[in-house]
C-alpha cells in the first residue's frame, strides 16, 4: 500500500489500513483518505475526538464508488465465532453483537479483527455513560426519559451476560482489557455498538462494519450511501446460492410459470426480493463453468435432468472414415472452441495470478459505499445515520446537530391522559386509556406506516428528489443496474426497532416534528377524549365503530391542519376536513387548547437553561457533554415553541 500518506498516519491508523488490505476492504485511495479527525473542524459533528474521518482528496462525482467491503470482514452476531452459543442460549440483537465484539476484543492480537478493533476508541460518549452531574443537564428532555429505561434494560442485559460468562468459563476469559465482570466494560462496548453498528442484511442484522463506520454523520447532508444486497439466504447469509437457497430455487422452478409472469419492473417494491436475487444468481452462473449445467437444467426445467447430470458432453459425429465433421459444421466447432477459450481464460488467470483469485472474488458479497451527493476536494465526506432528531442522535451516537430538519420532541401518553382528566373527567381519561391498550395495533401500525396520505406525499417528494439527481448526476443508467437486481440502498439506520429503547412500546409517546406538527395519533386521542358523551359511548362499546372512527379522526385532523397551515379560512378547512368525518368547530378549538396546554407543560418541565445547566465545566469531557445537553435543550425548546405558536394561531382563528 504505497499511496498511503504515512506522515499523517498514527500507528493505530497504519495497523488499520494494513488490516483493510488483508481483509480485502478496498477504497479508492486516489479519491479519499482516512485521516485523524480534527475536533476543531466541526465540533458538533464529532462522534468521538479520538475517531477518524474521511476526507476527499479531489472533487467526488455523483455515483462514484469509493469503498468495497466484503461481508466476510464485518462483525455480526450471526457470523460470530459465538453464533452457536447465541443460538443455544437464545441471545440475539444488540446484546449478542455487543458480546461478540467484546469476545473478539478479549482475544487481543489473536482475533481476526484485531486490526480493526484496535482502531476503535474506548467508547462513544453516549449518555448512558454520563455521570450524575452530566445527566442533570438532560433533565426534562426526551433523552432523560429514555435513560431511565436504558438503565434498567442494560442492568438486565448485564445480568444475562454474567450468567453466560459463568456458564462458559472456558470461552469468556477476562484478558486484553476486557473484564467480563465489569459493568463499565460492558457499557463501553455497548456504546461502541450503539454508535457504530448498522443493519447489513436480513441474516447478519446490525453489524460492525469496518471502514463504513469511519464516515461521520451529517444530518441531511451526507455524501455517501451504503449499498448492500439485503436479501441473502436467511439461514446462512449466502448471497450466491447455498443448500437452503437450492431448496427455494427448486420450489421456484416448480412455480416457474408464475415467476415469468412477474417479470416487469413494477414489482421492486413488493415482496419479490428473493426472486430478484435468484434471477441474479442464475445470471451470474451463466458465466461460471461450475454452475453451467445447473443453469441449463433450471432454464429448461427438463424432466430428463437425472440422466443429464451424468450425461457426457455431446461429441461431434464422425463420418465413415472416422473423421469428425468439423468441416461441414463450422458453426458447431466454433461454438465449442469458444467455450474452451472461456474455460482456459478462467483457468490461466487462476494459475497466473493467485492474488486475484478471479473465481473467488466473483462470489464475494460486498457492501459498497458510493457517492450520493458530490463533494469538494479537501472537505470531509459524510454518511448519514438516518433521519433523526437531536435526542435520538445524542442518545444513540453521542452527538447532536444545531441544524436538523428531522428534529423532534415528544409528549408522553401519560401526559395526554392527565390532560383529558383535567379537561374532561377522570372517568373519560381512564376509559381512553383502556381503549388505547385494547386497540394497541392501531397505534403501532400507524407509527410504522404513518398515514396513508403522508406516505403518498413522501413518495412524491422522493420522486422529485430523484429527478433532481438525474439532472445534476447525469446518466444513472448502467451504474445503477445493481439496484434493479435487488440491491437495497441503505442509510446507516437501525432497522431492529425492538432493540431500541426509544421505540420501546411499553409507554408510547407522541413526537412533534420540526415544522411543529404533532403525531396525529395525539390529536386523534384528544378528539376522542374530549368528544361528547353520546358519541364516546358508542365508540366505547363497538369495536367495529372504533376501528372505523379512529383512523377517520386522524385523517380529519391531517386535512384540517394542512388547510389551516396553507392559510385557508376556518370554515373552508373544516369543510374540507369534514369530507372525512364530522367534527364541530368548538371541539376542534377545545382540542387545540388542550394540545397547547400539553406542550406548555412539557416546556415547563424542560425548565430554564440557566437553572438546569449552570456554568460550563472546565473538564473537556464534561464540557462536551454540557454543550451537547445545551444544544439538545435548545432544539427541543424550539420545536415545542413552534408547536405552541402554530396551535395558538389555530385557536385564534377558531375562536374568531
Amino acid at each position: 500500500m504505497s499511496t498511503v500518506n504515512s506522515s499523517s498516519c498514527t500507528e493505530k491508523l497504519q495497523v488499520l489500513l494494513q488490516w483493510f488490505e488483508e481483509n480485502k476492504i478496498t477504497f479508492n485511495q486516489e479519491a479519499i483518505e482516512v485521516v485523524e479527525h480534527k475536533p476543531t473542524k466541526r465540533s458538533s459533528n464529532i462522534v468521538s475526538p479520538e475517531g477518524f474521518g474521511i476526507v476527499a482528496r479531489r472533487n467526488l462525482q455523483h455515483e462514484e464508488p469509493l469503498v468495497v467491503i466484503p461481508k466476510t470482514a464485518i462483525i455480526s452476531a450471526a457470523t460470530s465465532a459465538l453464533a452457536n452459543i447465541f443460538y443455544d442460549e437464545g441471545l440475539a440483537g444488540s446484546l449478542a453483537l455487543c458480546i461478540a465484539v467484546m469476545y473478539e476484543m478479549s482475544l487481543g492480537k489473536q482475533s481476526p479483527w484485531y486490526g480493526y478493533l484496535q482502531s476503535l476508541p474506548e467508547n462513544a460518549d453516549i449518555p448512558v455513560l454520563w455521570d450524575a452531574q452530566a445527566r442533570k443537564w438532560l433533565d426534562g428532555t426526551d433523552v432523560a426519559k429514555w435513560l431511565e429505561r436504558d438503565d434498567a434494560s442494560l442492568r438486565d442485559d448485564f445480568k444475562s451476560l454474567q450468567k453466560l460468562v459463568a456458564d462458559y468459563p472456558r470461552i469468556f476469559v477476562s484478558q486484553n482489557d476486557i473484564d467480563w465482570n465489569s459493568f463499565t466494560c460492558f457499557l463501553n462496548a455497548t456504546s461502541l455498538v450503539s454508535s457504530r453498528a448498522f443493519s447489513v442484511d436480513i441474516f447478519r442484522g446490525n453489524s460492525m462494519v469496518p471502514f463504513a463506520d469511519i464516515f461521520n454523520h451529517k444530518t441531511a447532508g451526507e455524501n455517501v450511501h451504503v449499498e448492500s444486497e439485503e436479501m441473502v439466504c436467511p439461514m446462512c447469509g449466502e448471497a450466491f446460492g447455498c443448500e437452503h437457497m437450492e431448496a427455494l430455487e427448486a420450489m421456484d422452478v416448480e412455480n416457474e410459470s408464475e415467476l415469468n409472469e412477474d417479470d416487469d419492473d413494477d414489482d421492486e417494491e413488493n415482496n419479490h426480493g428473493h426472486e430478484h436475487r435468484i434471477d441474479k444468481y442464475f445470471k451470474d452462473c451463466k458465466d461460471c463453468n461450475d454452475c453451467e449445467e445447473d443453469y441449463e437444467d433450471v432454464e429448461s426445467g427438463s424432466e430428463e435432468e437425472e440422466e443429464e447430470e451424468f450425461g457426457e458432453e455431446l461429441p461431434l459425429l464422425i463420418d465413415s472414415n472416422g473423421v469428425s465433421i468439423e468441416e461441414d459444421n463450422m458453426d458447431e466447432v466454433q461454438q465449442q472452441d469458444l467455450d474452451d477459450e472461456q474455460y482456459e481464460e478462467v483457468e490461466s488467470s487462476d494459475e497466473e495470478d493467485e492474488e486475484e483469485q478471479d473465481g473467488e472474488d466473483k462470489w464475494l458479497d460486498t457492501l459498497d459505499m458510493v457517492v450520493f451527493k458530490s463533494c469538494k476536494a479537501n472537505s470531509e465526506v459524510f454518511n448519514t445515520y438516518g433521519e433523526h432528531g437531536s435526542a435520538y442522535l445524542l442518545h444513540r451516537y453521542g452527538f447532536c446537530d444545531s441544524q436538523n430538519p428531522f428534529e423532534s420532541a415528544s409528549l408522553d401518553l401519560e401526559m395526554v391522559f392527565q390532560a383529558i382528566a383535567i379537561a374532561n373527567s377522570e372517568t373519560r381519561a381512564s376509559q381512553v386509556e383502556e381503549l388505547v391498550s385494547k386497540y394497541r395495533d392501531l397505534f403501532v401500525d400507524f407509527h410504522r406506516a404513518k398515514s396513508h396520505d403522508e406516505e403518498e406525499e413522501e413518495e412524491d417528494e422522493q420522486e422529485d428528489e430523484e429527478e433532481e439527481q438525474d439532472v445534476d448526476g447525469g446518466n444513472r443508467d448502467g451504474i445503477n443496474d445493481k439496484d434493479q437486481d435487488g440491491d437495497v440502498e441503505m442509510s446507516e439506520d437501525d432497522s431492529d426497532s425492538d432493540s431500541d429503547s426509544e421505540d420501546n412500546n411499553s409507554m408510547p409517546s407522541f413526537s412533534i416534528d420540526a415544522p411543529g406538527h404533532p403525531d396525529v395519533n395525539l390529536v386523534a386521542l384528544l378528539v376522542l377524549g374530549l368528544a361528547d358523551d353520546s358519541v364516546f359511548e358508542q365508540l366505547l362499546h363497538s369495536e367495529d365503530l372504533f376501528r372505523q372512527y379512529f383512523p377517520l379522526m386522524r385523517r380529519f385532523w391531517l386535512a384540517f391542519q394542512e388547510k389551516l397551515d396553507a392559510g385557508a379560512s376556518v370554515a373552508a378547512s373544516l369543510r374540507e376536513a369534514n369530507k372525512v368525518t364530522t367534527v364541530k368547530k368548538s371541539s376542534a378549538a377545545l382540542v387545540c387548547r388542550v394540545a397547547v396546554a400539553l406542550a406548555e407543560k412539557r416546556l415547563e418541565s424542560l425548565g430554564e437553561d440557566s437553572a438546569k445547566l449552570g456554568i460550563k465545566p472546565a473538564d473537556p469531557l464534561q464540557g462536551q457533554r454540557w454543550e451537547n445537553a445545551k444544544q439538545l435543550r435548545s432544539n427541543e425548546r424550539k420545536i415545542l415553541q413552534h408547536f405552541i405558536k402554530a396551535y395558538k394561531k389555530f385557536l385564534v382563528k377558531l375562536s374568531g
Partner: protein, 371 residues
C-alpha cells in the same frame, strides 16, 4: 466401416433422411447403428441416445468430456457402471429418493445450529462410525495395481449393505456412486469408474454410511504399489496435519482455529491447503454446521461444546491450493495437475478433550506411513 453406410437412415425421431455420420462413442464401444444425418439431429436425440453407452462390461471405454482441458494426466474412464441397488429393507436417508438428491433436513438447518448429541445418540453414532471404519478397511485391502475404482465401489457398496447400512454418497446431490475415490491430482469427490489403479498412484477412499439415523464419515489416502518419495511425504504430512488439528479439540476451542495448525504444518513442509472444501458437522445429517475450513485466518462460526461431532478432513496439495471441477460437476482436481492427499476422521468433543469415532480397529490393515 463399409460402403453400406449410405443406406442408413437418421435415427433422430421424426427424421427419415439418409445418414452416413455416426456417434463416435458408439463406434468406440462397437455398438451397432447410431447413424445420424446431421449434428443437429444428433443433438436432439442425445438425451435419449446416450443411454446406449451405458452397457455392462463394455469392450471399450472412453473419455466423456473430450474437449475439456484436463489439468493433469488423469482422465475419467467411462461408461460408469449402472447405479447399484440398495435393498428395500435398509432405511435410506431423506435425499436417497429425491430427484435432485437434496436433503430437506440439511436445508432446514442454519449454520449456527451445531447439534450436541445425547448419550443415547452417541452410542448409535459410535456404532455407525465403527461400521464405517470396517468398510474402509475392507476397501483398503482390495487396493492393488489393476483394480478399477468401480470395483472398489462395488466392494464398498456390498460391505455397506451387508451391515444393513445405506452408502451415504449414493444420490446425495445426485452423486452416482457409493464411495468417493480420489486418485492422484483429484482433491476429493472422485467418481469411481473403469480406470484401473496404476503402480505409483495414490488413492483416497472416502467412506460414508447411514444407519440407525446417523451418518459415519471418514477417509484415508493409500499408496498403490511403489510410490515416489515426494508423494509419500505429501501423504504423511497430510496425516500429520489431521492429527495436529485433532489434538486441539476440546470444549471452548474456536472451530476457526483448527485451520491454523493445519496450514502451519502443511506450509512448513512446502505444501498448500485446499480452501474450497471444509470439514463439517456429521450425525443425523451427512453435512451440517459447523463448517470447518482447513486454512489459517478463517472466520468460521462456532465454538466447541461437549457432544459436538464433526469431521476434520484436510486436503493438502503438492502445488497450488487452487482446485477446479471436472464437467461431471463432482471431481475436484488441482489446477496444476500436481497431487493432493486427504485424511478424515469423525471427532466427538468430550468434557475435557476429544474422542476419535472413526479410529483404527485392532484388525485394521497396518499403516503405510511408517517408512
Amino acid at each position: 466401416m463399409t460402403d453400406a453406410a449410405s443406406k442408413h437412415t437418421c435415427e433422430a425421431e421424426g427424421c427419415s433422411k439418409v445418414a452416413s455420420l455416426q456417434c463416435p462413442n458408439c463406434v468406440k464401444l462397437e455398438l451397432e447403428g447410431s447413424f445420424f444425418c446431421s449434428q443437429d439431429c444428433f443433438r436432439k436425440s442425445w438425451s435419449v441416445h446416450k443411454a446406449k453407452h451405458q452397457v455392462e462390461n463394455p469392450k471399450t471405454t472412453y473419455d466423456p468430456f473430450p474437449s475439456y482441458k484436463y489439468t493433469g494426466s488423469l482422465r475419467p474412464v467411462y461408461p460408469l457402471s449402472p447405479r447399484r441397488a440398495v435393498p428395500k429393507n435398509i432405511p435410506p436417508p431423506d435425499y436417497a429418493n429425491d430427484p435432485r438428491g437434496y436433503s430437506r433436513m440439511e436445508q432446514s438447518y442454519g449454520n449456527a445450529q451445531i447439534i450436541a448429541m445425547t448419550p443415547e445418540e452417541l452410542e448409535k453414532m459410535r456404532h455407525v462410525c465403527r461400521l464405517g471404519r470396517e468398510v474402509l478397511d475392507i476397501a483398503a485391502r482390495a487396493i492393488k495395481v489393476g483394480v478399477t475404482t468401480d470395483e472398489i465401489d462395488r466392494i464398498v457398496h456390498e460391505a455397506t449393505i451387508e451391515r444393513k447400512a445405506y452408502p451415504s454418497p449414493l444420490n446425495y446431490y445426485q452423486f452416482p456412486k457409493s464411495v468417493c475415490t480420489s486418485v492422484n491430482e483429484v482433491v476429493c469427490h472422485g467418481i469411481p469408474d473403469q480406470r484401473p489403479l496404476h503402480d505409483g498412484d495414490i488413492i483416497n477412499i472416502d467412506i460414508s454410511l447411514f444407519k440407525d439415523g446417523f451418518h459415519a464419515d471418514l477417509n484415508k489416502t493409500y499408496f498403490v504399489g511403489n510410490v515416489d518419495p515426494e508423494s509419500k511425504k505429501l501423504v504423511k504430512t497430510t496425516r500429520e496435519c489431521l492429527q495436529k488439528a485433532i489434538e486441539m479439540v476440546k470444549p471452548g476451542v474456536r472451530y476457526r482455529d483448527l485451520g491454523s495448525a493445519i496450514e502451519a504444518h502443511a506450509t512448513a513442509n512446502g505444501f498448500s491447503v485446499v480452501r474450497t472444501y471444509c470439514g463439517h458437522g456429521v450425525g443425523k445429517m451427512f453435512h451440517s454446521a459447523p463448517n470447518i475450513p482447513h486454512y489459517a485466518k478463517n472466520k468460521a462460526i462456532g465454538i466447541m461444546k461437549p457432544g459436538h461431532v464433526f469431521t476434520i478432513e484436510p486436503m493438502i496439495n503438492a502445488g497450488s491450493y487452487h482446485d477446479q471441477t471436472w464437467r461431471d460437476n463432482w471431481t475436484a482436481v488441482t489446477v496444476d495437475g500436481k497431487r493432493s492427499a486427504q485424511f478424515e476422521h469423525a471427532i466427538l468433543v468430550t468434557e475435557n478433550g476429544y474422542e476419535v469415532l472413526t479410529g483404527r480397529l485392532p484388525d485394521s490393515p497396518p499403516s503405510q506411513l511408517d517408512f
